[in-house]
């Protein structure tokens, strides 16, 4: 008997790691939901590879090596989830960006090409909002780092367009997250419990109508 292992890889930033949701973040909420609704079980490994402050540049640099060292079962079912971009959209008071738009676009394409080598399903999660009063500029940044929702939405559109061109599922964040940013993103950048719940709901609702977790292998 051969046991087919199933794996979920999540690459992203601090929001993907779960900051600052006391229930562990939207990724863990999603895993719990999928298990409770019998769409997968605990024989599926979920590798949360989100890293604080990471941009498309950082993720591109580590994507292949970190995936390869987690693939003992090449024939197993797998899903790649990407949730990044907010750190790319950051810019400085002097004018330059952390990752310029053209570079951002290229990085996304390179990540998609790298992902295709491994096969499996893939989807992207859109960018979340900031509470501009606390991010324009960031009070604790010596370099004058700035995050604005206008710019975040521009980067979100780039991501959305590349996904569309490549025929990849893109899950946009609800407008409410932007409208209600002061109460949902109280520290400026990191979604609170309520906001993580909204991200999770948005992802869950879109996945329901997709084939991503259909006939997922269980033990």
């Amino acid at each position: 008997m051969v046991i087919f292992m199933a794996e979920i890889f999540v690459f992203g930033d601090s929001i993907c790691v779960g900051a600052i949701d006391t229930k562990g973040g939207w990724v863990i909420r999603l895993q719990r939901y999928l298990i409770e609704n019998d769409m997968l079980d605990y024989s599926t490994y979920l590798y949360n590879l989100g890293v604080d402050a990471h941009t498309s540049e950082d993720i591109l640099a580590r994507f292949e090596t970190e995936t390869r060292s987690r693939l003992p079962h090449k024939e197993g079912r797998k899903v790649f989830i990407f949730a990044f971009g907010i750190n790319d959209s950051c810019f400085f008071k002097a004018g330059h960006s952390l990752v310029e738009k053209e570079m951002f676009k290229q990085n996304i394409r390179k990540i998609i090409i790298a992902q295709r080598k491994f096969g499996g399903d893939v989807f992207f999660v859109g960018l979340t909002s900031v509470y501009e009063k606390k991010t324009n500029p960031l009070p604790y940044s010596r370099t004058g780092k700035i995050f604005t929702n206008k710019r975040i939405l521009e980067y979100n559109s780039i991501l959305k367009n590349v996904c569309k061109e490549e025929g990849i599922l893109f899950i946009d964040m609800p407008k409410e997250l932007f409208r209600e940013a002061p109460s949902l993103v109280p520290d400026g950048i990191h979604p609170n419990n309520e906001a993580h719940k909204m991200i999770f709901e948005a992802v869950k609702n879109r996945l329901k109508n997709s084939m991503v977790f259909a006939d997922w292998p269980k033990r």
């Binding site: 601090s14 006391t22 024989s43 490994y45 890293v51 604080d52 402050a53 003992p72 520290d187 609170n192």
Partner: protein, 232 residues
């Protein structure tokens, strides 16, 4: 931001505990009891079937891209060894004892350069009736408690030499192996609880978590109220 980096195999990864495994439960416990808060990032870098050789090969790059400031507070937790003890019916082994000891010493030497705190969790026993050989393998994969005990002793000895905290779980779990490792190898919910309690007991006696840096986000403190209940 302070960080906790966990390197190991499927057991710290959480298999097959419906509560997510002892690492996830440890984080909840530490937060709930005020040792750390949500500004601490926990990176669970545990990978199914990983052994000491594979951990050694990925540890440098995976740590380098997660630590942004070298002065940040950090804790390394290592929990591996079971897959090093594995042997096959044709006599093949995964890691001989000498290599295992060398790998452990190399990992410790590397960690010393990076700095921060460190501790090891010992190897869990197996329920031999289901691991001699492991039922679902075609290669005749075997795990024996005699072998595990020997590799566990190597870990204990190296940690003692290096004055590193070692959380031994082998002997306290061995008598109950039949009910703790239903499929032979993976600890169930109760078994993850035993590992968790052993880790907590040792951590609370140590000074690793004393003065761990916290951020007083009032919003986070507010939401502690609806934290899920943690079982130990």
């Amino acid at each position: 931001m302070p960080q906790i980096l966990v390197f190991g195999d499927s057991i710290p990864a959480g298999a097959i505990d419906p509560e997510g495994g002892w690492v996830v439960r440890l984080r909840s416990y530490l937060i709930k009891n005020g040792y750390i808060d949500w500004s601490t990032f926990l990176y669970k870098m545990a990978v199914d079937v990983d052994n000491s050789t594979r951990i050694l090969s990925r540890i440098k790059s995976e740590t380098a891209c997660r630590i942004r400031h070298k002065d940040e507070r950090k804790l390394f937790i290592f929990a591996f060894g079971l897959h090093d003890t594995c042997f096959f019916k044709d006599g093949r082994i995964i890691t001989d004892k000498k290599t295992f000891e060398k790998n452990v010493r190399n990992i410790i030497a590397w960690q010393k350069e990076i700095g921060g705190d460190i501790f090891f969790v010992g190897i869990t026993p197996v329920y031999e009736k289901k691991t001699r050989p492991v039922a679902y393998t075609t290669s005749g994969k075997n795990f024996s408690n005699k072998n595990i005990s020997e590799y566990n002793s190597i870990l204990r000895k190296v940690c003692k030499d290096e004055k590193i905290l070692f959380v031994d779980v082998f002997s306290k779990m061995l008598p109950k192996a039949r009910i703790l490792f239903i499929d032979g190898v993976y600890p169930n919910n109760k078994a993850h609880g035993i590992i968790l309690k052993s880790v907590i007991d040792e951590l609370e006696k140590s000074d690793i978590l004393v003065d761990w840096p916290k951020r007083n986000w009032s919003t986070i403190l507010q939401s502690y109220k609806d934290m899920p209940k943690v079982r130990t």
